[in-house]
């Protein structure tokens, strides 16, 4: 795992890496040693939090060193924001998954049709499955992708990384 963390440190800008990498790895190592004897779920939580935190920190540092970067304006943790008060309604997620599943299904049907035209005797997997089963399969796949994305966002949220964008530490002039 430490090799993974060491690799993740390379995502940070060079100056930041030179300044903090040893310290950060020392802290991760101490934490890993402490959770080493705990339940596997606690170990998984720890490593997920640390990895998500390191990745989010690397993105934040990359954005910080590029003044006037477009991403500085566009990147707001915990939500995709076109303006700061904008939030997608919750219904967007299932709708997007449904659209995604239909697109995948259409592509698969088009591919099987193309095969059928060029080689009529070849039977594809798409043909063997009934329509409802195919839709169900693709919906399941889309749900899995959605769940993975949600898991990633949840891990980032648990790490507290989204609060970095709110940090205002300068004194009032």
């Amino acid at each position: 795992m430490l090799l993974l963390y060491r690799t993740a440190m390379w995502l940070y800008p060079r100056q930041c890496r030179a300044e903090f990498a040893d310290e950060m790895l020392g802290v991760v190592r101490a934490g890993a040693t402490e959770v080493g004897g705990e339940k596997w779920i606690n170990r998984v939580r720890f490593h997920a939090r640390e990895l998500a935190g390191l990745l989010a920190g690397a993105v934040d540092e990359r954005v910080r060193i590029r003044p006037n970067s477009y991403f500085k304006l566009a990147l707001v943790w915990r939500r995709i924001a076109m303006r700061s008060s904008f939030r997608f309604p919750k219904s967007v997620a299932p709708m997007m998954m449904l659209v995604f599943a239909l697109v995948l299904f259409t592509i698969a049907r088009a591919a099987s049709t193309a095969v059928m035209v060029s080689s009529p005797h070849v039977t594809t997997a798409g043909e063997r499955l009934s329509l409802p089963l195919s839709v169900g399969l693709w919906l399941g796949l889309a749900y899995l992708v959605g769940a993975l994305v949600w898991l990633l966002i949840h891990a980032l949220h648990q790490s507290g990384a989204q609060r970095l964008s709110d940090i205002q530490t300068w004194p009032q002039k």
Partner: protein, 105 residues
């Protein structure tokens, strides 16, 4: 001054007591918040870097300082701003208590 985020406030409170190194800050924040605030290393060092840039904290050389173990402490600017934030929160709490008590009466 903008209100501080909980993460930054917790880090500053941890350093207000004594100089600490990274892992000690993580554990102290976890303890102070009864396990509610769990900082990751990436989050902690992002905040520490900003606080160093703004001169709210500084590096501190102690006997325990070795490779990979750097201590930090509050500067006078950081302590002053922390006191200001605590005063603001006290005032807010007092106001809220007064309003809630009036509502209950």
């Amino acid at each position: 001054m903008e209100p501080l985020t909980e993460t930054v406030l917790m880090i500053l409170l941890s350093l207000a007591e004594q100089p600490r190194h990274g892992y000690s800050i993580l554990k102290d924040v976890e303890q102070m918040s009864d396990g509610r605030v769990l900082l990751s290393t990436g989050t902690l060092y992002g905040a520490l870097r900003r606080l160093l840039d703004d001169r709210w904290i500084e590096r501190f050389q102690d006997e325990d300082t070795s490779r990979g173990k750097q201590a930090y402490r509050l500067t006078s600017l950081g302590r002053g701003n922390l006191q200001g934030e605590v005063a603001r929160m006290k005032q807010l709490t007092k106001l809220a208590s007064r309003r809630v008590a009036r509502e209950e009466a």
